[in-house]
Assembly symmetry: C2
Homo-oligomer: 299 residues x 2
Amino acid sequence: MQELNKYKDLFHEQVRKVQDQVCRKIQDLDPEVELIEDIWEREDFEGNPGGGGITRVFTGDKVENAGVNTSLVYGKISPEFAKKFGGNADQMWATGVSLIIHPRNPKVPTTHANFRMIQIGDKHWFGGGADLTPYYPIEEDFLEFHSVWEKVLRPYGHYKSMKETCDTYFTNTHRDNEMRGIGGIFYDHFNSGDLEKDFEMVSKLSEEFIPSYFPLAKRRIETEWTPEDEEFQLHRRGRYVEFNLLHDRGTKFGLESNGRTDSILVSLPKRCMYSYKYAPKPDGPHAKMMEYYKPKDWV
Amino acid sequence: MQELNKYKDLFHEQVRKVQDQVCRKIQDLDPEVELIEDIWEREDFEGNPGGGGITRVFTGDKVENAGVNTSLVYGKISPEFAKKFGGNADQMWATGVSLIIHPRNPKVPTTHANFRMIQIGDKHWFGGGADLTPYYPIEEDFLEFHSVWEKVLRPYGHYKSMKETCDTYFTNTHRDNEMRGIGGIFYDHFNSGDLEKDFEMVSKLSEEFIPSYFPLAKRRIETEWTPEDEEFQLHRRGRYVEFNLLHDRGTKFGLESNGRTDSILVSLPKRCMYSYKYAPKPDGPHAKMMEYYKPKDWV
């Protein structure tokens, strides 16, 4: 327990560092972007101080909306909550960073990542990942994103399984199993038995988010786009909302456990669109993009 | 069973009639509106013909998007499906109309209604209701809507309970119990034991949708609106999507039972908006409108 407490602080430090770095990168991508920072606190199940978090929300012309949140929560939990994790522990802590970026330019993908460490009773694990949701078929960008994750996970041997978990997880089962985007990596309840090694791996993952996304975003952020490109983007953002509200376990868990609604739903895009039986023009770039929303071997 | 089969056909006739009438009213409200009609069929659990439906979807400048759907489905059901209804029946039928109208003008409320009759094994019941989601505080319109339902339900003594069920049901529990709109009536598993009387009541309800909505819509459809009115509308439409995807049992049930996704999600507004901690300007009409999104005695 004492050793785990050390990791709680270390991991919290790590996610705070990542939060600051990612925020600077967003401001670099869109120097005019507006930032709101909210620092919040919570009580635990018994009404004692239970930690809190820092929510940072960006709105701008280039980065239409983004959220970069960290939290460190701890304390007593309800028996009902404990049961969800298959035990009768009464104490927990969790710390992590979660982020989402919805750029305005349809040629810059939406991206999402989160890295968290959790302990309930005497069990601990890591969860998280990073995934890309592009709206324009620029294959070299997709390859670059996946390559970063493959490279950092190579020494640990987890790329293939984490990539497959991501493909399966971010899927709109109610839309003929269309993926939300082109995947990335995802893992949950990760605990290899070697805490030091797991900690090292997840810390590295959290540091690789920046090189996985910002170089490609920077390359595309000033490129031209057409009204059709935007229409397709808004339609796919609608699918993004469908996934997040219908299927995402993190959203569901957050809302059900009385999390801070505005911090959780900051994942939704500022604008989106729904159309009956939407289909892109045949043979165009958007029809081509549709072919990428299914599992694919990237590296 | 034979008597119930008679009601299956009678109720299907009734909902088809309502569908046609509502569609004409939508075309009257927006003469330029485009209509797509899709006639679909389904198979039952054993792959035999299991009925189908008629989906009608409207898109226009005044009626931004609308859907008016009927279906009559029947046949064998899976044991898993039967269990949800607390039995081991292997046959069912269900018929109903469900409709949603999202006008472009923020001074014309969004509305939703559905009227359905279901039999599983030897149990049958009615479900449905009608509710209003305005975006501008025009109290006389709200009163008119509720008055129609109060009047038709008066002889049956069900207005109060159906109004309260509606207030409770269409609530975003994750948004401090804000209602989706200003309510209306809602009922489920309705069966008083007097089939003839229940049938008569629900048929009347289905006929009162037109007088409850179209007169007020017609009065407001040509009125002016400001960009702030539209921004507030788009924000509230975002809340509408949150309700439908997070909480609506009909949506959940439809998607889980492998319903036709595009027919189910036609309930979503064409455009919507999400903003972090959105709040309307104090003291304006939109701040006033916020006060209506909670249970209120109307008549």
